[in-house]
């Protein structure tokens, strides 16, 4: 084990003589951690603490004909049986807090279960053992329904519909059932390539596996409030979700956390917090809801599975001229955060390489399995595995050293990325060189001389004319009118150079909050600029929270949500004229204005997206 800090690299971009930054200071909380005195949520003990356990579905997909909890209610120690009807606002989607997606999941399910382990009822008892025993005594009459477990089977027309909010088993991205990325014309470029390299990759679900399982302890506080000690990774996400599901003003909730026994992405879902608070509301006593290890492994959302197909067009010298990707995120039965992985991942494609023609279709698919959620590297880990295995395949086909191939294709400062933003602050080339050097992997002089700061060309820096298609509109696939999941040949051409503006940090609200440029420690144009022109631009008004609060059902005619400052309108360069490849019948698209400031569709189908915003129910 060794670690070295290569201060020689990028040395002129940093001030290395700061007071506290860059120093190996001891952690503020180390004493408590080392001595075992640090308090985690589960260390908050209350007299008369009650324990909550859930009754869960043994089936992948089933209708609940009836539930008989009579015997359970009479068992020793049982204080309360919690039914779905006890949840005041029993439908939510996690990202409704930022106005993304439709409410699609109940805290306790009342009619249909869509994955094995889905909770339908909870029991609160004096001890955990009593709660478990009572759950076992509940009798449920299940009508088992057909299920689907494979992402590509799930999008076939005849597949069972998993989630009624997304009846096609795909998340809705604008008008399409997938996220499109179109840059240049991959289909046309494949015809020019010396080699075509294709492969399929897959990643099974992975458990975040924190030592501390998900959980929360809630108790009535004075002043008609409830305190909740939690291991959440996102305090206000959990507070807001609890406020929404329980229809309670956020000001009546007091959440305490901040010291967590490992999260890795698995503690964002905010299920244990509303459950514990609901228990405290219903019983008037402190209630703990904590997953056991089996629940953490199989009920708690894992990193979802992904399947990727990659097709590269490669020239004899190893230059990749086209890359096509088709990806499937297995969301499981409910959205949680998988929808977000779809866009995050698509923005990441085609990896850290400058490729002039890129086409990708990314699907978020519902199946009858445990809902997936975030995990370290969320939305990126699976596709990075696919891309980097694929790079080695390409290197082998082209007969080029694998590291040399990466350096050759690596993105450089100034290159145009496929999501139409300029690359800056790149360091892939240097990372390759340093890693190779440490391992004694000998690179050629040209590769060793390469730099992230050099090598961009006007061609690499430009946005090519782009072939567009309208394949995969919502509902079309299920109706059998969509032939493939892969990107299809474009039918329209978007002029070269079409793009909107970059979105950056909102400036400080008062000049006093701006750090002095000489104290920044590196070159920050914002700080430099602020020194001369302290009055910042007005921040955008279209914070996603704002429209979300006014959300209406997606179908209703909504007034256009307030827009952020208009994007510097898309500026197409004049359409490349006659020389343009595809045939004459391919119409030149009118460069339509790109609307990056209009955040995601507002689809929350409950009145008032979030109590958390207002502390009062909105209608």
């Amino acid at each position: 084990m060794s670690i070295e800090f290569r201060k020689d690299l990028f040395a002129d971009e940093r001030d290395d003589n700061l007071n506290e930054i860059g120093k190996p200071k001891q952690r503020q909380d180390i004493g408590g951690h080392v001595r075992g005195r640090t308090a985690y949520y589960d260390d908050h003990l209350f007299d008369g603490l009650l324990h909550m356990r859930c009754l869960r579905s043994p089936h992948h997909h089933a209708r609940i004909r009836s539930v008989d909890s009579g015997a359970a209610e009479r068992m020793p120690g049982v204080r309360r049986v919690v039914h779905p009807s006890d949840v005041p606002n029993n439908l939510n989607t996690l990202l409704s807090l930022i106005g993304f997606g439709k409410d699609d999941e109940q805290l306790l399910s009342d009619q249909v279960v869509r994955y094995m382990g889905e909770p339908i009822l909870a029991i609160i008892a004096d001890t955990e053992a009593q709660a478990r025993a009572a759950c076992a005594a509940v009798r449920v009459d299940w009508e088992v329904l057909p299920h689907v477990l494979d992402v590509e089977e799930a999008i076939a027309p005849a597949a069972p519909s998993v989630n009624p909010a997304y009846a096609n088993n795909t998340f809705d991205y604008g008008p399409y059932d997938h996220v499109k990325l179109r840059f240049g014309d991959a289909q046309a470029a494949f015809a020019q390539a010396d080699h075509i390299v294709e492969a399929e990759y897959e990643m099974s679900p992975i458990e975040q596996a924190p030592i501390e399982t998900c959980g929360a302890i809630a108790a009535p506080e004075t002043a008609d409030r409830f305190v909740c000690h939690t291991g959440t990774q996102a305090l206000f996400f959990s507070l807001g979700t609890a406020a929404k599901l329980l229809n309670i003003a956020s000001s009546r909730l007091h959440f305490i956390g901040g010291t967590v026994g490992g999260g890795f992405g698995g503690k964002v879902d905010s299920i244990t917090e509303p459950m514990a608070v609901l228990g405290a509301i219903l019983t008037g006593k402190p209630v703990k809801f904590q997953w056991d290890r089996e629940e953490e492994m199989q009920v708690g959302a894992p990193r979802g599975a992904e399947r990727w197909r990659i097709k590269d067009g490669v020239m004899a010298d190893g230059t990749i001229i086209a890359r096509e990707l088709t990806g499937f995120f297995d969301a499981g039965a409910y959205t949680r955060l998988s929808s977000y992985a779809g866009t995050k991942c698509t923005g990441h494609l085609p990896g850290p390489y400058s490729i002039p023609n890129v086409a990708a279709n990314t699907f978020c698919v519902y199946t009858n399995r445990t809902p997936a959620t975030a995990m370290r590297g969320f939305g990126i880990t699976g596709v990075d595995f696919a891309i980097e295995c694929h790079m080695d395949r390409v290197a082998e086909v082209a007969g080029i050293d694998p590291i040399s191939l990466r350096i050759k294709n690596a993105y450089r400062d100034g290159d145009m990325k496929a999501h139409r933003r300029v690359a800056k602050n790149c360091a892939l080339v240097e990372s390759c060189q340093v890693a190779a050097g440490k391992a004694g992997w000998i690179l050629g002089t040209e590769d060793m001389a390469a730099s992230s700061m050099a090598g961009s060309t006007p061609e690499r820096a430009s946005i090519p004319q782009t072939a567009l298609d309208e394949d995969g509109k919502i509902n079309e696939r299920r109706a059998g009118r969509t032939a493939t999941t892969s990107p299809v040949k474009g039918t329209k051409q978007l002029p070269a150079g079409t793009h909107g503006r970059s979105h950056v940090a909102v400036p400080v609200q008062r000049p006093d909050m701006q750090i002095a440029p000489e104290r920044v420690g590196h070159d920050d144009p914002a700080a430099r600029g602020a020194a001369h022109a302290p009055a910042p631009v007005a921040p955008p008004v279209a914070a996603p929270l704002q429209p979300a609060a006014a959300a209406l059902p997606a179908a209703a005619a909504t007034p256009t949500p307030p827009r952020a400052q208009p994007a510097a309108a898309s500026q197409p360069t004049p359409p490349a004229s006659a020389a343009t490849p595809p045939a004459a019948q391919a119409p030149q698209l009118q460069a339509k204005p790109y609307k990056p400031d209009e955040p995601f569709q507002r689809g929350v189908n409950r009145p008032g997206a979030s109590r958390f915003l207002s502390g009062a129910r909105r209608r």
Binding site: M1, I3, K7, L9, N19, G22, P24, K25, R27, Q28, Y173, L181, E202, S204, I206, E207, T232, A234, I256, G257, G258, V260, E294, A305, Y340, T343, R369, R376, G377, F378, I380, T381, G382, D384, F385, E388, A410, H419, R421, N425, C426, S431, C432, A435, A436, W441, I442, L494, H503, V504, A505, M513, Q514, R519, D524, P544, K595, P596, D597, P599
Partner: protein
């Protein structure tokens, strides 16, 4: 019955912060009466060192010693809103909010000191050891403690600051995929050396040589902790971990650590790390947040090394002995790939 050596490479970049922005973080800073500073957040410390890195950032921005700063976090009654600890956003977003809050508090502090010293605030600087001095005349000085006492009890002035940092929210163009995903990326590249036993299919990762570009290592020890732990997690993802070993079939589902395979701390792979620092313009002191990306390159590098060792491409994670043995069987035995330049033959 041979143990084959293999070597594999992978490199990646990683987006810092929530995709498409719209994920604010807020921070509050105030001075106690005798010039210690409290930083109040609702950020979460998952063990990655959130509190410590914010403490260092606050001390740097205020210009006071780290011992005089304490970070209190995650009480919704006192800590202002933060989106949470995920998406490698903690250091980038919260660090910037802390800088802004600390800068405002610092400005108040310098005004208070200027009043005491009867000079202009612009002529003052901190020495990072608890004193405020006149630039070029360090003997003319006042301690931060005396400044705070004077501000509180004489001048009627608070030494406090508020900060918020937000990457403005944006969306996706659904026809082209045009978007502003994030404002900065971290980078990594690594070489894996491993062995594959062609009788058992067992893979043993022998060594990792890596380069991680993190913008700036705000605390080198915390960075080291992340990189070693993250790479270990990557090894575990590549070779062992899954809740559904036969995905998409739901058979043999692990329910505890007896059946959910993970290497133990004793199986931490020898790992030689180089840290590169190319500061990102809008990051706190340039730091990008190494938390998530350190695991990512390990997975494909292991797959590539396994192929190099025995000629089997395992394209489905995890790379279990069963998959390797089935691959060997299909190939009619091990077919080691070319030895890489610089590799022992």
């Amino acid at each position: 019955m041979t143990i084959h050596t293999g070597r594999g490479f992978a490199c990646i970049n990683y987006p810092i912060g929530m995709n498409l922005g719209g994920d604010p973080s807020q921070a509050l800073v105030h001075s106690t009466p005798d010039g210690k500073f409290m930083v109040t957040l609702s950020a979460i410390d998952l063990g990655q060192g959130m509190k410590s890195v914010c403490r260092q950032i606050a001390a740097e921005a205020l210009g006071v010693p780290i011992e005089d700063v304490y970070v209190d976090t995650a009480d919704s009654d006192t800590g202002p809103h933060d989106m949470g600890s995920f998406a490698s956003r903690g250091t980038h977003r919260m660090g910037n909010a802390v800088i802004r809050a600390s800068s405002e508090a610092r400005a108040q502090m310098m005004e208070a000191a200027a009043e005491e010293l009867e000079v202009s605030a612009a002529d003052l600087d901190t020495d990072g050891r608890g004193n405020i001095q006149v630039k070029g005349a360090p003997s003319k000085m006042i301690t931060v403690a005396d400044t705070a006492i004077a501000a509180q009890f004489k001048q009627g002035r608070t030494l406090s600051g508020r900060g918020i940092f937000l990457i403005e929210p944006s969306g996706v163009d659904w026809d082209t995929g045009e978007m502003s995903p994030v404002t900065t990326y971290a980078h990594a590249a690594l070489v894996i050396d491993l062995t594959v036993d062609d009788e058992t299919g067992e893979v043993e990762v022998k060594h990792i040589n890596s380069a991680y570009e993190v913008g700036r290592a705000l605390n080198p020890k915390l960075v080291e902790q992340q990189l070693i732990g993250g790479a270990w997690m990557g090894v575990s993802h590549a070779l062992y971990e899954t809740t559904e070993p036969y995905y998409p079939a739901r058979d043999h589902l692990p329910q505890d650590f007896n059946t959910y395979l993970m290497p133990g701390p004793g199986e931490t792979v020898p790992h030689d790390i180089a840290v590169l620092e190319r500061p990102a313009a809008d990051a706190p002191y340039g730091g990008k947040g190494p938390g998530e990306m350190c695991a990512n390159p390990v997975l494909p590098a292991i797959a590539n090394a396994v192929y190099n060792a025995v000629g089997v491409r395992v394209d489905k994670l995890p790379i279990t002995p069963e998959k390797i043995l089935r691959g060997l069987q299909a190939n009619g035995g091990a077919k080691p790939g070319p030895r890489q330049p610089g590799t022992p033959q």
